[in-house]
């Protein structure tokens, strides 16, 4: 009777990717924003060689967070505006599948933007960001943002203030992810011995798991009426 959980999740992800391939709305607006943000930071902070090493991971992560917020708002507003959320709620699926489906889609788009940023920043800031550990941290960090972001964006698109509310409610809650991700990246980029910073990716994994469980438990309360 019920659609299998994994099938429901995958069909939602597939639908989101299909829409994105058709319209390229999310990745293009997120990507353009990210590019502009990098340029603005490099002018605003007047980064010289030594300052760059210190500031670069901060620039990377602030850019990733804001680009994610941009994408999350669009992705969930799309479900809300045409009433498509209702259409998914009408289907005989486990409703948490909607959360995992949207989470996976948002994660993929944020990762695409993050992966584009690394080579661009490597060139513009003349520092090698294409390191395996940095990719791991990028994955863990964007996962954390996408998890809380999907839950909170589902809430904020249903409110009156809509788009403007998401950064306000999301930034503080995403702080632990940001903190750990920035610490880890700075250490990776300054080539500190691994034993000194391995705790940060570990903390990131723990925080990601806590958020995933909390958001999984809370999601049903955000979509019911």
């Amino acid at each position: 009777m019920k659609t299998p959980f994994l099938k429901a999740v995958l069909s939602i992800v597939r639908k989101d990717v299909q829409i994105e391939l058709r319209s390229r709305e999310l990745v293009s607006s997120m990507g353009l924003f990210a590019l502009l943000s990098i340029l603005i930071f490099s002018f605003a902070l007047e980064l010289d060689r030594s300052a760059r090493q210190e500031a670069i991971s901060g620039v990377l992560w602030v850019t990733v967070v804001f680009a994610s917020i941009l994408g999350l708002n669009r992705s969930l507003a799309m479900e809300r505006d045409q009433g498509n959320l209702d259409a998914m709620l009408l289907a005989p699926i486990d409703r948490v599948a909607i959360f995992f489906g949207k989470l996976a889609g948002n994660l993929v788009f944020a990762l695409v933007v993050g992966l584009l940023l690394l080579p661009i920043m490597t060139i513009l800031y003349n520092q090698n960001l294409l390191q395996p550990w940095l990719l791991v941290v990028l994955l863990l960090g964007t996962f954390g943002f996408a998890t809380v972001g999907t839950l909170l964006a589902m809430m904020t698109v249903q409110t009156r203030a809509r788009e403007s509310l998401l950064p306000i409610v999301m930034m503080p809650v995403a702080l632990p992810v940001l903190l750990a991700a920035v610490r880890a990246s700075t250490n990776i980029l300054t080539e500190t011995p691994i034993a000194d910073w391995i705790a940060w990716p570990q903390i990131l994994v723990v925080v990601d798991i806590i958020y995933l469980v909390a958001c999984y438990l809370l999601f049903e309360y955000v979509i019911e009426e």
Binding site: M1, K2, T3, P4, K7, A8, S11, I12, R14, K15, Q18, I19, R22, S23, E25, M78, Q82, G83, N84, D86, A87, M88, L89, L90, A91, P92, I93, D94, E224, E225
Partner: protein, 250 residues
């Protein structure tokens, strides 16, 4: 409850018992008792804010009742919602479609969500698109469609999984005369196919012509409930005015 009435209630496909829905302290439905038997076509009328849409959302499992019971096909809501949802198709005044996907892609997505067997999906989609007259536009994105075409596709989406029950929330909103008559035809076909239909509308003529029974909601309860036999649009309009003005005069 006597044994007799117990047996009687079992004949209802859709039944609400003392159904209450309140938003905060504002009650929208006040102890509503409504029974609909299999195969009926019921038009649900009433002024804005009388609780028509709320009732439909409750029956579709999109909203939880504040108090009271909903029984659909022997299942109770919201506890057995997933089982009930597979039997319900809903058309809302929002089209519930992805405008960047084509007509066929939209239907295919919902076919996956409803877990239709993949083997028969292509044939089923072709059949539905033919039925709603969109075969030639099946590959075009929905955002290029007119309101009437979107609404037809929306009905195809609701019929996709062959539901027993069709809930329609003001399907005539924004449709021109031609599109309305196409919709009339689709609804007649759906009803002739044995489906139970509950439709809210402001179009009294369509209600009198299509439905077998009219229910007028006023102030969160049932103000009028009778078969449409012998009713035309003008007569129904008089009854509607009488039922609803009785309330506003208070």
């Amino acid at each position: 409850m006597t044994l007799n009435s117990e047996l009687e209630t079992r004949n209802f496909l859709i039944e609400t018992r003392a159904l209450v829905k309140a938003y905060g302290l504002l009650p929208v439905l006040r102890k509503l008792d409504l029974g609909i038997t299999r195969g009926e076509f019921v038009a649900l009328l009433g002024p804005n804010g009388s609780g028509k849409s709320t009732l439909l959302r409750l029956l579709a499992g999109l909203s939880k009742p504040t108090a009271g019971q909903i029984l659909i096909g022997g299942w109770t809501l919201p506890d057995e919602a997933a089982a009930v949802r597979a039997q319900i198709g809903m058309v809302s005044h929002k089209v519930l479609l992805y405008e960047n996907l084509s007509a066929r892609e939209n239907l295919r997505f919902f076919a996956r969500l409803y877990n239709l067997p993949p083997a028969g999906v292509d044939a089923r989609l072709a059949e539905l698109l033919e039925q709603v007259g969109l075969s030639r536009r099946a590959a075009d994105p929905v955002r290029t469609f007119s309101r009437g075409m979107q609404q037809r596709l929306s009905i195809a989406r609701a019929l996709l999984h062959n539901p027993d029950i069709l809930l329609l929330d003001e399907p005539y909103t924004g449709l021109d005369v031609d599109a309305s008559s196409v919709l009339d035809g689709l609804l007649r076909d759906a009803h002739a196919g044995g489906r139970t239909i509950l439709m809210t509308t402001h179009q009294l003529d369509s209600a009198a012509a299509l439905a077998g029974r009219v229910v007028i909601l006023s102030r969160g309860g049932i103000g009028y409930d009778a078969p449409t036999a012998g009713l035309d649009g003008a007569r129904l309009s008089a009854i509607y005015t009488e039922t609803t003005s009785m309330v506003s005069a208070r």
